[in-house]
Symmetry: C2
């Protein structure tokens, strides 16, 4: 695509994310999205075909604006990623809309499972690195744990959104790790890990 077409697609994707985030799939209209983007409906049809195409793009590209924490691959970076995601869910509209649509996609009949596998693979890579660094218990299964982490994160996010509009998501993710870490790593490794909760305590 030419530079201008690429830019138009980006503007549309983000306008769609804003509208999906605010009102959900059913109540979102092409008109409200193109008005938000300052474009015409023709641009949607050219780049995405339909509202459904826009929703699929928002789901698939939900991570496009993320800048994952740097640092050594392994258990600490996995924890840092989940802490970072908890904060991003509060302020990153593309991520939030993509997650919302992925959770509520039955209402839109989308059947998009691949994004869940994508996240599981991202988490699994860190667990494989953690294994190579000797950070995991022999019993811990990297693939199974990565899937569980996606499931637990998804459910935690839903519960946080319903109970506090995600204000307590970082705290819930720290609580999740306090529960999970003893199944994943030996006590001496856990003691070296910093979660957002322990970091907050250290700053206090």
């Amino acid at each position: 695509m030419q530079q201008r077409a690429v830019r138009t697609r980006e503007v549309l994707l983000r306008a769609a994310a804003e509208v999906f985030d605010e009102v959900g799939y059913t109540r979102a209209s092409i008109t409200s999205i193109v008005d938000r983007a300052g474009l015409t409906a023709g641009a949607v049809y050219f780049h995405f075909k339909s509202k459904e195409g826009l929703a699929r793009a928002v789901i698939h590209e939900q991570a496009a604006d993320l800048q994952f924490p740097q640092g050594e691959p392994g258990l600490q970076r996995l924890i840092d990623m989940t802490d970072y995601l908890a904060v991003e869910m509060q302020q990153n509209t593309l991520l939030r809309a993509g997650v919302r649509l992925a959770v509520e996609q039955n209402e839109a009949d989308l059947h998009e499972y691949a994004i869940y596998e994508w996240w599981a693979e991202r988490f699994r890579e860190e667990l494989v690195a953690a294994r190579a660094r000797g950070q995991l218990l022999p019993s811990a299964d990297e693939s199974a744990f990565a899937s569980l982490l996606v499931a637990a994160y998804t459910g935690t996010q839903i519960m946080s959104q319903l109970s506090t509009k995600r204000a307590d998501l970082p705290g819930r993710i720290s609580a999740m790790w306090r529960c999970l870490l003893p199944a994943l790593a030996p006590a001496d490794v856990i003691r070296q890990m910093t979660t957002s909760a322990t970091a907050a305590e250290a700053r206090a």
Copy 2:
């Protein structure tokens, strides 16, 4: 309520569950629900006021048709409950519709968090019993773990529904327990526990 009114409400609730399970909140119509129930729209307005009222009732009463496993309260019964729920999700329409609506409720603007707390409390009761029976590690926090279990179950159910229409849900719940148990109980207690997967192995 008189017997007949109670019966009418039951019939409506189950007809609504069937329709919500099949087409979701947005596409469900009062007409399709009362047609399914063999009743008139007046019955809906009398008992539930609106489609929204029906959806709230299906969420709140999602567990009404469950018969939880008997047996000693504690860790084994908690595992048995989650195995039982995995099978019920495949065949119990009221449960399935209630869970679907609870997950996708943003689309319907319902803000119903209480059902998640209700499940967490059910799970916590078993963990408290497990603690009294000496089945839990000193580090395990019953309340935090109960919440995590609801979150992990919710996310696992979503992923199973998208990937296999819930055919693999029992297997995913067994995998979840294999990941979680080492954080919850000492090795000698874990060895005494039976999950649906170990039960299947024992039968083979």
